[in-house]
């Protein structure tokens, strides 16, 4: 684990964004800057942290951490499902194939949990016994492990995070995917999740549920795109205390990605009006949470070369400049 002082000194070098003029057509996502060059896409994960639908802070090493988690998992799953990455030229950068996204997000759940209206537990508690095409037995308790993982796809919302649940058949019926695609995606989803569960378990971490996005490469082949098994796309619990927490009716310990959002909420900020100033120690602590998440999920130590990020990226991306 990096020291707090070292993290603090990196604040000077946070990667706010990039504006390369010779790297292709630029598109700015919430967290990533994307550059398209024909059939190739260069994805630069910045240190932007977004919440309440906007960028709220820059967190040192965050881009590198997220990129490293995704790299770890892509490398560990490419034998079961091809992914779009072709190279990792820099700790913050992935170079991948330009894919046409499949208009369906594949969510897979090994446990029945959650509190939002689209979550499995919320619906189960309301009495739903067929959730997105999966028949659920009577008598399940919150956070209980399901006898087998279930797939609950959602539509991909164009704006905001307002995806809606649906069953695989509904997705096919609406023409979002074909029957064959649905079957292929389901197979990949279950296999990826099984691998994720297995690898995370070695570190004493439970991969509770997660979301995959797929796309088709220029040859029409289905591949895994976006990110995989990151704290942003997944829920992780701590295995060591899970049984005890279940037995005593408490919520399982988790790897928390909401630290800064909760801090802001405690300052009575919920996305409206002027945002309170975020002190340096809160920024550092947020960075620590991300680094810790990397280490817990992957079982590896986070190694980084502190210092100027943007210049390093520019050097490493030289071969890709047009």
């Amino acid at each position: 684990m990096l020291t707090r002082d070292l993290i603090a000194s990196q604040i000077l070098h946070v990667l706010k964004g990039t504006n390369f003029t010779n790297l292709g057509t630029r598109y700015e996502g919430k967290v990533r800057d994307n550059y398209t060059q024909g059939n190739r896409r260069i994805l630069i994960t910045t240190d932007r942290l977004s919440a309440f639908d906007k960028v709220i802070a820059l967190i040192p090493f965050k881009g590198e951490v997220l990129n490293a988690i995704t790299k770890f998992w892509f490398e560990n799953t490419k034998d079961i499902c091809p992914n779009y990455v072709e190279a990792y030229p820099d700790p913050n950068v992935m170079v991948g194939k330009e894919c046409k996204p499949v208009m369906l997000e594949m969510i897979v759940r090994g446990y029945i949990t959650g509190s939002t209206t689209t979550s499995a537990w919320y619906n189960y508690e309301k009495g739903v016994r067929n959730f997105c095409g999966n028949v659920l037995p009577e008598g399940l308790k919150k956070n209980q492990k399901l006898s087998a993982p279930i797939i609950t796809p959602t539509t991909k919302a164009a704006h905001g995070d307002h995806d809606a649940n649906l069953s695989g058949l509904e997705a096919v019926e609406r023409g979002l995917v074909t029957m064959e695609e649905w079957e292929q995606l389901s197979k990949y989803t279950l296999a990826l999740y099984a691998r994720g569960v297995e690898v995370a378990a070695r570190q004493g971490v439970i991969l509770v549920d997660t979301k995959y996005e797929f796309g088709r490469d220029p040859d029409g082949k289905i591949m895994l795109i976006d990110e995989i098994h990151t704290p942003d796309s997944s829920r992780f619990w701590i295995a060591a205390t899970y049984e005890e927490k279940m037995a005593t009716g408490q919520e399982p310990d988790n790897i928390n990605k909401e630290f800064l959002r909760l801090w802001l909420a405690n300052q009575n900020y919920r996305g409206e009006g002027e945002m309170p100033n975020i002190p340096e120690d809160v920024i550092v602590e947020t960075a620590e949470k991300y680094i810790k998440a990397y280490e817990m999920i992957t079982g590896q130590q986070f190694m980084s070369q502190p210092g100027e990020v943007l210049a390093r990226i520019e050097t490493n991306l030289k071969p890709y400049m047009l």
């Binding site: 639908d53 209206t117 739903v128 016994r129 067929n130 959730f131 997105c132 095409g133 028949v135 539509t155 919302a157 164009a158 704006h159 905001g160 307002h162 809606a164 649940n165 649906l166 069953s167 058949l169 509904e170 096919v172 019926e173 609406r174 029957m179 409206e272 009006g273 002027e274």
Partner: protein, 446 residues
């Protein structure tokens, strides 16, 4: 297209035609075929009803293709059968009887539409159509508008603008804040819309599983019904008469009605601000404003939106008042009215698209905004009299009334007045520094 009776299917078909996939007659038939197919598969494969043999994977796929890859000819064929049966749901049943025959599964014929009243199929078909149409077409178009409004409110967060109450100058606001007001209203309604449930039932002729239980007393039909309905992505109703009571639909219609009213309010405001010169409209190349007055750029997009929102809401109002009412177990008044639901969504969508187009053409006319602010120094009278109150000045309101009503007040006159006031120096300085442009309160930070 020129011969279509309704403009939705004629003049505007390019804008709203995407809804036809869900709400047209063919869309309805397709949806009915889907429910019948899934019910048969459910009975044979999940419930494993005695006397049925399950459909294997290939049969299931072939059978599901009947609705997933629904062909125009299927609809034609079903319409032809309907001419003989004079019953639209029965026609679907006959169509499927033929289809299972072609798959060499004539043994399934008795189980097509098993235990169902037509309404069991219809209510689920309509629920699915509504759900799919709203989620795939309506919500994305609404979100586009909201995203745009958010963007405008951010861009013009600090751009001061004179407000109008009763059409008269009032304490200034900012352009961004005015949009933010609308965004907040829409957001609240969208949150409700997203939570809307689509309700459905599958419980036989009068809602009591009478026939089911007589034929298969050993089956738990209540659980089966629930499992089947939820499997379609629809919220199950335990208590119904012959028909699903349509209260859930009314909730959805009412939610759209409220959304449409906000959109209408926005359209009129933008129209008015354009007429006052607060906004200009970017001219699209080739577009003609008036047929006789070449200089004109009319706010047609907002007018189109306003007009169509009115039609949409007239329909939605009728639906939500009519559909939940049915004599005793049922009458057929709902059946003919419900066929029109796509029309209400069509007029709404048309309006949303016009509104979106209009928003995209807006350009804030900052010079005009400043001009109005600079000519209305009387706007500061509220500020001054409120400060006077703070310092206990007795007739603050009256003093300002005297100063401002009926005469033109400019910066000099205001400054001279402030100088005469018996208030602490720093308060006086604060007032002297104030201009209509800076008297915007918290508008830019709210």
């Amino acid at each position: 297209m020129n011969k279509a009776l309704s403009p939705l299917d004629g003049r505007y078909v390019e804008k709203v035609g995407e809804l036809a996939r869900f709400f047209s007659e063919a869309g309805l038939i397709r949806s009915r075929v889907g429910i019948e197919v899934e019910w048969l598969i459910y009975l044979c494969n999940t419930l494993k009803l005695e006397g049925t043999a399950p459909l294997n994977e290939k049969e299931r796929e072939a059978f599901r293709k009947l609705y997933i890859e629904f062909q125009d000819e299927f609809a034609e064929e079903i319409k032809t059968i309907e001419k003989t049966t004079n019953h639209d749901v029965k026609a679907v049943e006959y169509f499927l009887q033929k289809a299972v025959g072609l798959l060499n599964r004539s043994d399934l014929i008795p189980f097509i539409h098993f235990g169902c009243t037509s309404e069991d199929i219809n209510n689920l078909a309509y629920a699915q159509m509504m759900k799919a149409g709203i989620q795939t077409v309506m919500i994305p178009n609404l979100e586009k508008i909201l995203a745009f409004i958010k963007e405008i409110s951010e861009t013009y967060r600090k751009t001061p603008m004179m407000a109008h109450t009763h059409g008269q100058p009032a304490s200034p606001t900012t352009v961004g804040k005015e949009f933010k007001n609308v965004g907040a209203r829409l957001f609240r309604q969208f949150e409700q819309l997203r939570k809307m449930e689509f309700l459905g039932k599958m419980n036989g002729a009068t809602g009591n599983f009478n026939a089911h239980v007589v034929a298969y007393p050993e089956v738990d039909w209540v659980t089966a019904s629930r499992q089947f309905v939820e499997g379609l992505g629809i919220t199950w109703q335990r208590y119904t008469t012959q028909i699903e009571p349509h209260d859930g639909m009314a909730e959805v219609f009412d939610c759209f009605r409220r959304i449409n009213i906000i959109m209408l309010d926005l359209s009129r405001d933008l129209w008015t601000y354009i007429s006052m010169g607060y906004f200009k409209q970017k001219v699209l190349k080739g577009e003609v404003g008036s047929s006789t007055m070449p200089h004109k750029v009319n706010p047609i997009d907002f007018e189109n939106a306003e007009g169509n929102l009115g039609i949409a809401n007239a329909l939605l109002t009728h639906f939500s008042e009519k559909l939940p009412v049915s004599r005793m177990q049922r009458d057929l008044t709902d059946s003919t009215v419900i066929r029109n639901i796509g029309t209400a969504f069509g007029y709404s969508l048309l309006a949303y698209k016009s509104l979106f187009k209009g928003l995209g053409k807006l350009e804030v006319n900052e010079a005009r905004l400043q001009e109005d602010l600079n000519q209305n120094w009387a706007l500061l009278s509220e500020a001054i009299q409120t400060v006077l109150r703070r310092y206990g000045v007795q007739n603050a309101y009256e003093q300002l009334k005297e100063l401002t009503r009926g005469t033109t007040v400019d910066q000099e006159k205001i400054a001279a007045f402030i100088e005469t006031l018996d208030i602490p120096k720093d308060a006086k300085n604060r007032l002297l520094k104030l201009t209509p442009e800076t008297y915007i309160g918290l508008a830019s930070t709210l």
